[in-house]
C-alpha cells in the first residue's frame, strides 16, 4: 500500500515555511524524501531510518515518528528553487524489500 501524503498542494510566498506529511499503514524501515521538477528526475533530499539515523541535505529537515509510521518534511524560509513535487518513498520493515513505494506527491509552488 502506498503512503499517503498531505497536503496535495501548497502555494507559498518566498520566505514562508511549509510542512509536508507522509503516513503509512505499514510498519516502516525507512522514509525517503525526493523533490521532482517538471520533466526531471527525482532528486534525493533526505532518508530517515528506523532507530533515528538520518542523512540528507543540510538545508532540509525532517522527522520520522516510528510509532505512528509518519514522517514530515520541513521547508523553512522557502526559496523559488523549492518549487516542485515532493514525494515520500517508503520501505516496509521486516521483508528485506529495497524498492521504494512512493506516495502521490505534494505539489509546492513558491511565488515571489
Amino acid at each position: 500500500q502506498q503512503p499517503v501524503q498531505s497536503p496535495q498542494a501548497v502555494i507559498l510566498r518566498e520566505g514562508e515555511d511549509a510542512v509536508i506529511n507522509c503516513s503509512s499503514s505499514k510498519a516502516l524501515y525507512s522514509v525517503h524524501w525526493y523533490r521532482q521538477k517538471h520533466g526531471e528526475a527525482p532528486v534525493f533530499l533526505m532518508i530517515l531510518l528506523k532507530g533515528g539515523e538520518q542523512k540528507g541535505h543540510e538545508k532540509i529537515s525532517a522527522s520520522f515518528n516510528e510509532k505512528k509510521q509518519q514522517s514530515s518534511l520541513y521547508l523553512t524560509a522557502s526559496q523559488l528553487s523549492y518549487s516542485g513535487t515532493y514525494f515520500c518513498g517508503t520501505i516496509a520493515s521486516g521483508g528485506g524489500a529495497d524498492g521504494l513505494t512512493f506516495g502521490k506527491g505534494t505539489h509546492l509552488i513558491i511565488q515571489p
Binding site: Q2, Y29, S30, H32, Y34, Q36, E40, A41, P42, V43, F44, I47, L49, K55, F87, G89, I91, G96, A97, D98, G99, L100, T101, F102, G103, K104, G105
Partner: protein, 113 residues
C-alpha cells in the same frame, strides 16, 4: 559529483517492438533499480538488482520485462512486445547500501505508438 546516466533520453517505438533502455549506475554502487512514471502520476517501483540477480520485483514487472548487467558498468531494462500503456518515463537508480538512499538518473522517455 558522480551521477547515474541513462540512454537514450527519448525512445519512440511501435507497439509490439522490443526496446532496451540503458543505465550506467554510480560506479561504486552495488544495488540497482528501475522505476517508471506515467505522465502526471507517481513514481512506481519495477525491480531491484543485486549481485547479478533480481532482488525484488513489483507486480508490474511481469514476463514482458527483463533486466541484465551485461558488463561491469551497464544495467539494462528490456521490454518485449511493447504496449501503448508502456509509454512512460523510466528511471534507473542506484544505491551503495541496501535500503539506503537511491540516486536517480535523468530518465528515458518511452513513447509507444
Amino acid at each position: 559529483e558522480p551521477e547515474v546516466t541513462q540512454t537514450p533520453s527519448h525512445q519512440v517505438t511501435q507497439m509490439g517492438q522490443e526496446v532496451i533502455l540503458r543505465c550506467v549506475p554510480i560506479s561504486n554502487h552495488l544495488y540497482f533499480y528501475w522505476y517508471r512514471q506515467i505522465l502526471g502520476q507517481k513514481v512506481e517501483f519495477l525491480v531491484s538488482f543485486y549481485n547479478n540477480e533480481i532482488s525484488e520485483k513489483s507486480e508490474i514487472f511481469d514476463d514482458q520485462f527483463s533486466v541484465e548487467r551485461p558488463d561491469g558498468s551497464n544495467f539494462t531494462l528490456k521490454i518485449r512486445s511493447t504496449k501503448l500503456e508502456d509509454s512512460a518515463m523510466y528511471f534507473c537508480a542506484s544505491s551503495d547500501f541496501l535500503q539506503y538512499e537511491q540516486y536517480f538518473g535523468p530518465g528515458t522517455r518511452l513513447t509507444v505508438t
